[in-house]
Amino acid sequence: MIQLKAVSKWYGQLQVLKEIDLQVNEGEVVVLIGASGSGKSTLLRCMNFLEQSDSGEIYLFGEKVDPKESDLNWIRQEVGMVFQHFHLFPHKNVLENIMEAPVYVKKKKKKEAKEMAWKLLCKVGLEDKANVYPGSLSGGQKQRVAIARALAMEPKAMLFDEPTSALDPELVGEVLSVMKELAKEGMTMVIVTHEMGFAREVADQVVFLDEGRIVETGTPEKIFEHPSEERTSQFLSQVLG
């Protein structure tokens, strides 16, 4: 579904992604882990072209994407994204946040979009917040709205960029449980996270990055129990304590 071949990216002199090869299959949950600055967020952002790679090839749904030729606006409708800092639209209420893209991008009828927004709000457990503005929500609630907003475009895959890193510890659980639910439904997901317990539980594939390179890839059991690379075990012992 998402395939990267030898993707590289530079910020000036600094090479932040080094020849990344990665395959994400339909219905699969891939978790990217690694120290900060390892390139995992950049890699994720390359997948919906918020960042453009400097070399290498990216295939989405079996077709090679050339960012100059293909319609990136269309691609982004198919690949939803959830950000660390939510980025809800503060001048719109919760329901309007979710309806915005279906109505103005997909040209859905307002009524239809509203019905779907309601369903999604129920799904993330926030139907009582439909008419409030983002400013009055907690971080966990904001992130759940952000997930609903992305789902409203009915994407084929979802990217999560450290979705719980900006949350107070007691709010992490509510977001993770929504994500687990999504994974259970078979959504294709790529997740950058520091929540190792969550990664172990939901990931089909764990990818460990270090200094812009994929060091090791494998099932959670393999990566967490029997990492074959020295660097992986070092990192895990640091984060797991």
């Binding site: 919906n48 918020l50 606006n73 269309w74 982004r76 409708q77 939803g80 994204m81 950000f83 800092h85 980025h87 809800l88 639209f89 503060p90 001048h91 209420n93 915005e100 893209a101 103005y104 991008v105 997909k106 409030v132 503005y133 983002p134 400013g135 009055s136 952000a146 907003r149 992305a150 475009m153």
Partner: protein, 222 residues
Amino acid sequence: MITLLEIFQTTFDEFMQAAWQTVQLTFWSLLLATAIGLFFAFCRLSGNPVLKGMALLYIAIIRGTPLIVQIVTLYFGLAEFVVLDSFTAGVIALAVHAGAYIAEIFRGAIQSIENGQMEAARSLGMSYWLAMRRIILPQAFRRSIPALGNQFIIGLKDSSLVAYIGGTELWASGLGAAADNFRQFPTYLVNGLYYLALILIFTFMLRWLEKRLNVEQRSVRA
């Protein structure tokens, strides 16, 4: 005091009419200036060096020369090609002038909206311009209201300079009345009070607008 009242009475009809002219002059020029400002704000933010250069040049020229010079130059300059009445010429000159300042106000407001808003909008499949129109500009506009209001107040007072190309607005009629009655001081004072009244009314309207537009954001923080 008696003189002031007397002057107020004798000039009332004339000044009221002229004040209405001032209001119209201000309204049309600022409406046009807002459009000009928005256009040049985008030019300044554009990656295109020609558009950006054009905006920088425009802003530099307008900010670097006195308004009265601009008004008179434009009036006589345009007269080479088309004959414009002083009202139309005044509207254009004031709009071109205020537009430069408003361009900077809008640019600052647009840049103050965090980048994540644009990214979130784009990640949902919105084009740059759709995201600009639906997500960035509504927020930027709200943020620019205090500075914009300030500029509008300046614009209202600046309209007095149209007197010097034969306008019939408030200051022109003040000059005319004083020339007739030879009582400059009380006449100008009364004339100034009309400006003060107009600006107080405008300030009041602005405060109301600001409150209204902030309603959601305030109610949610409670």
